[in-house]
């Protein structure tokens, strides 16, 4: 059964100043799938995921060639507002980055900057997002306490809730468990599997077991190239490329 392609990178070359960090990337992201991007440090995987919601534009000397599309439309086109892309393509960062506000305000923030003024609607969204991110039971009695008082794992799930509140279509996870303990990691992974019913998910991870556990498709990046991209079971059982095999069997990385 062929799934629908939501996002597509085609012939993407990416440079920081004179340095080319991504070479000829071609990658399809399927609807309601989890696509994992794996590879050793510095292979360009985080750089790549940040292209998908145009976060790369925050770096002043970044340059991109090729195209990235969302539902067939080029998201890099000059007439496209990056704000609109980031609303549709949400992102959860490597290090939990709750704002130093209350739990409630953290989630309301995304709605407010997008022009939502209706307090009832915001309230309803806060509850709904916290439930979706499996955090509701733990925080329902202290919504107005500082988000910084939550544990690392709870903070990361709050960041996920914050992201879900603005109803994105695609959610990008940039090594979401890199700073979490195993139990929190397990919770986030369970959440990702739950979320893929409603969202299209891309996750960057340096943890191969994690990629194997949560993803449907896996891309292996190495030195700025996409060495291999296939169904996750294929990548982990019958990789075609020697480098992929060496990496997943732990011979380097």
């Amino acid at each position: 059964m062929d799934k629908k392609i939501r996002m597509k990178a085609k012939d993407v070359d990416f440079y920081y100043g004179p340095v080319q960090v991504l070479k000829r990337i071609d990658l399809d992201i399927f609807e309601n799938n989890v696509t994992a991007i794996i590879g050793p440090s510095g292979c360009g995987k985080s750089t790549f995921i940040r292209l998908l919601n145009r976060m790369h534009e925050l770096v002043s000397n970044a340059r991109l060639e090729g195209s990235i599309t969302l539902d067939g439309k080029d998201i890099m086109a000059p007439e496209v507002d990056p704000v609109e892309i980031r609303r549709k393509v949400g992102m959860v960062f490597q290090k939990p980055n709750p704002f130093p506000k209350s739990i409630y305000e953290n989630i309301a923030y995304g709605l407010e900057v997008n022009g939502v003024r209706d307090r009832d609607f915001i309230e309803q969204k806060v509850v709904e997002s916290l439930k979706k991110s499996a955090l509701w039971e733990e925080v329902k009695t202290r919504l107005h306490e500082s988000a910084l008082r939550l544990s690392g794992g709870q903070q990361q799930r709050l960041c996920i809730a914050r992201c879900l509140a603005i109803e994105p279509e695609v959610v990008l996870f940039d090594e979401p468990c890199a700073s979490l303990d195993p139990i929190s990691t397990h919770k986030v992974e369970a959440l990702i599997l739950e979320l893929k019913k409603d969202y299209t998910i891309v996750i960057v991870t340096h943890n191969m077991q994690q990629a194997a556990r949560v993803s449907d498709h896996t891309g292996f990046f190495y030195m700025g190239e996409l060495v291999e991209f296939d169904k996750t079971e294929v990548i982990f059982t019958r990789p075609r490329d020697k480098r992929t095999e060496d990496y997943i069997t732990g011979r380097f990385g």
Partner: protein, 288 residues
């Protein structure tokens, strides 16, 4: 043996540094003691609320206090918004290229320009070209220019302390750049910005050279009635009392009293900065 030498070096190094600190503290203590012991005697309600009388040999320094207050207010109105705006632009919007680095370097250099040069510049620009005359406005604007580099630098440093993840987090939620700055960067930079700004203003309040040609008066019987009036100011009054008065030894206590009031004023402004920072930090929920 080697260990012993290491140990001696350690003790010597530590004590040398401690000595440096003690020397600085001593100098400050002597200055404070000198001014306080010679100036405290003349401070009274009358001294603070009455104008000078009898050829400035008696009476108070009220017009000078008021003048300094007005001029500093003009300085703040000019330097704070302009400096903050400039810092926000430089730190948040401007690309990091040769031009912005050059602008930054120029701003740093401007804060090293002697204040008398600002005074001369103020005469040309505000007194003559803008036809503000010698006035509170001209003097305040001159001090504003002088304070700008400090305000810009302090604001930029404060903005730099706000983690990048606050900006990225906001942008990733579909906030525009300005929304992210206004709601997620500025609130956390404000304490630092205010501290730096108030320090800059307190320095401006104590300056003599820039107001010398731009509006400060030797003596005025009345308090200023508009921003186009001339004014008396504490630092200038102090200068007059210690060097230009016809009977310097007679008015020495007044000079010391003026110095004490000026120091107290500066101290008070710095205290306000500390309090504001403390309160905002508490409200900011443990940031920085």
């Amino acid at each position: 043996m080697r260990l012993k030498i290491k140990r001696i070096k350690e003790v010597m190094g530590f004590n040398t540094l401690r000595l440096c600190m003690l020397v600085v503290v001593m100098i400050l203590a002597v200055i404070f003691y000198d001014i306080f012991s010679k100036g405290a005697g003349i401070i009274s309600w009358e001294f603070l609320t009455k104008p000078p009388v009898d050829g400035m040999t008696k009476g108070g320094i009220f017009p000078a206090i008021l003048g300094t207050f007005f001029v500093t207010a003009i300085t703040a109105i000019l330097a704070v918004p302009l400096g903050m705006g400039c810092a926000i632009y430089l730190n948040e919007y401007a690309r990091d290229n040769g031009l912005t680095r050059f602008i930054r370097l120029s701003i740093r250099n401007l804060s090293g320009v002697p204040s008398i040069v600002y005074g001369l510049f103020g005469v040309t620009l505000f007194v003559d070209m803008c036809h503000f005359g010698t006035s509170i406005l001209s003097a305040g604007a001159t001090l504003g220019l002088m304070t700008l580099p400090l305000t810009i630098t302090a604001s930029e440093e404060a903005l730099k302390t706000v983690p990048r993840s606050y900006r990225e987090g906001a942008l990733a939620l579909g906030a525009t750049k300005w929304q992210s700055i206004r709601t997620n960067v500025l609130p956390f930079a404000i304490p630092g910005i205010l501290t730096g700004t108030i320090l800059g203003l307190s320095r401006a309040a104590g300056e003599t050279a820039p107001i010398l040609f731009t509006g400060a008066a030797f003596f005025l019987p009345d308090i200023p009635n508009s921003i186009f009036s001339q004014f008396m100011a504490l630092p200038y009054h102090l200068y007059i009392m210690s060097t230009q008065h016809h009977n310097i030894s007679l008015v020495r206590p007044i000079a010391y009293g003026t110095a004490l009031v000026l120091i107290a004023l500066v101290f008070l402004m710095n205290l306000v900065a500390v309090i504001i920072r403390y309160r905002l930090r508490k409200r900011g929920m443990a940031h920085g």
